[in-house]
Subunit: 321 residues, 2 copies
């Protein structure tokens, strides 16, 4: 299952989401409109909107409400990316130039803020107070994770625990919210909401682990950025942490994490991680999470939308992009 | 009326608002907590929370809901200030160091984002979908105003029109929202909501004009920043625009607006504006707005809360800080 067949049951709904995302509200300066269009049409898998819509169908929520929630999830994701890129100084995102490569920092900050406001507006249009609160809470978790990473240093005592927290804050929290959104809108049973949230947290974690593996093993054209970009910045993701845990950890990796960024050492470190069993071990952990995600869905009867969510769980770990 | 007696009817409510603002949610890293406490306790007149609470009493809204809305208004205001200061490069705000003077830009961006999330969370706790939407719309207006200022240049053809738009986006929009919030929460008649919104827009405009006047005539200790700070950055506020319109506009002012920032010329320009009738003319316009604000309240019967709102309108133009 590496095709995108899980999109079929929500293709029509996704077109409505695209229309909302491409909407230009009157309070939007043409420059912001262009910037956001550029970022939103710059690709992305629409993973979060797809999850919102599938979960809405699964729980019998109003699809009219769900399309607003789906657009809000993608808009919130976009807003966090805009500020992330500015903070990281990344010049490429989704293979296209990030805003901060061509804009001033000030314009980038404001474009991100505007996208936050549009996300808040979109989620409020669902008229669900609880979902609106959950979006705000999730944004707090995301910002907080970034701040923690900034202040707690990047590789201290319990590095794997720190990695898990970072993955939750950075990726899994919003994916979990997207997956539970349908249950919240449908005012479904607690058990259903919890099952979908667990599913989302698990595939979110799997998704980020695979991202971190692909950062080492994908080719640069597919990645749209240099291989090993996190390690280059001194950030230890799961493949690196597993590589170090085997004891066979190469000295070059230690050197990079201790601040040596000379190109030779960085290249050697990247090659050492790629050649080690850590890559396969990380993928195994990702597959375990995807398996747990699928198990969580056993609470729901068979349906095309449950099928699509199961396929999507497989996709998160079998993808090559 | 330059005392703060308009606070009396809502003093107890304001203490509840302070408690909410000082709350440290579990998702908040200690560093963000410290930063926000510093910013929030750094002063500020609590104008927006006071308006929310007075308007809630006037319209008979639930005060339990209104305290959340009041805290949300102050938190949103704080969030925009954090990013504003980063954009402007200001080192002092409310007489205290701004975050960006002591923090990295990245930490400042994230603290602002976190404050946006907390504002969104606080307003969602009112359980009013409409008010939540209005907050999101207002944030769009605020960001858009900043972007417009950035892209449209600072002094083009119709400078007074551009100034009015800027004042609305920067200040009056959130003050108008604060003033109408009580009517929205109370689900009051349209006419009452409109009256309070008009009142808020007018005092918001008056407030900003007086700020722009004080930027010239207050002493630096009270201001907590150098006199004429906008003009120093090439930004023409109402006193400058009126000064230029009299025809007696000094050549030094033209030179500063055309990019000459040499200290002698800037000092001469500031003194020219201070010595001209433009200061008194700007104050007259501010007083007209305050008068219109008071007229808008004639729709409401006499009450201590209406009295407080009338006094607050006087305060916006009679204050010296």
């Amino acid at each position: 299952m590496t095709d995108l067949s899980f999109l079929y049951p929500v293709e029509d709904d996704l077109r409505r989401v695209e229309a909302l995302l491409g909407d230009h509200p009157p309070e939007q300066h043409a420059a912001i409109g262009l910037a956001l269009d550029h970022l939103i049409s710059g690709g992305g898998k629409r993973l979060r909107p797809t999850l919102v819509l599938l979960s809405a169908h699964l729980c019998g929520a109003s699809i009219d409400q769900a399309v607003f929630a789906a657009a809000a999830a993608e808009m919130l994701h976009t807003a966090t990316l805009v500020h992330d890129d500015l903070i990281d100084g990344s010049l490429i995102r989704r293979g296209v130039e990030t805003l901060n490569a061509s804009w001033t920092p000030a314009a980038t900050i404001l474009t991100g803020d505007f996208a936050f406001a549009r996300a808040a507006y979109l989620v409020a249009r669902t008229k669900s107070v609880r979902l609106t609160q959950r979006f705000a809470e999730t944004l707090m978790v995301i910002c907080n994770g970034e701040i923690r990473q900034m202040f707690n240093g990047r590789h201290d005592g319990n590095a794997v625990e720190e990695y898990k927290k970072r993955v939750y804050a950075k990726t899994a929290s919003l994916i979990a919210l997207s997956a539970e959104a349908g249950a919240i809108l449908a005012e479904a049973e607690n058990a259903e909401e919890t099952a979908l949230r667990t599913y989302g947290e698990k595939i979110g974690t799997a998704f980020q682990i695979v991202d971190d593996v692909l950062d080492f093993v994908a080719d640069e054209d597919t990645l749209g950025k240099p291989v090993g970009s996190d390690l280059r910045q001194g950030l230890a993701t799961l493949p690196v942490l597993l590589h170090l845990r085997t004891g066979s950890g190469s000295s070059s990796v230690h050197q990079v994490l201790n601040g040596n960024r000379s190109n030779n050492v960085v290249q050697e470190a990247i090659q050492a991680v790629i050649a080690s069993p850590a890559i396969e071990e990380a993928l195994t952990i990702a597959r375990q999470h995807a398996g747990q995600a699928k198990t969580a869905l056993e609470a729901f009867p068979t349906s095309p939308h449950r099928r699509a969510l199961l396929d999507l769980a497989d996709f998160t770990v079998d993808r090559h992009f």
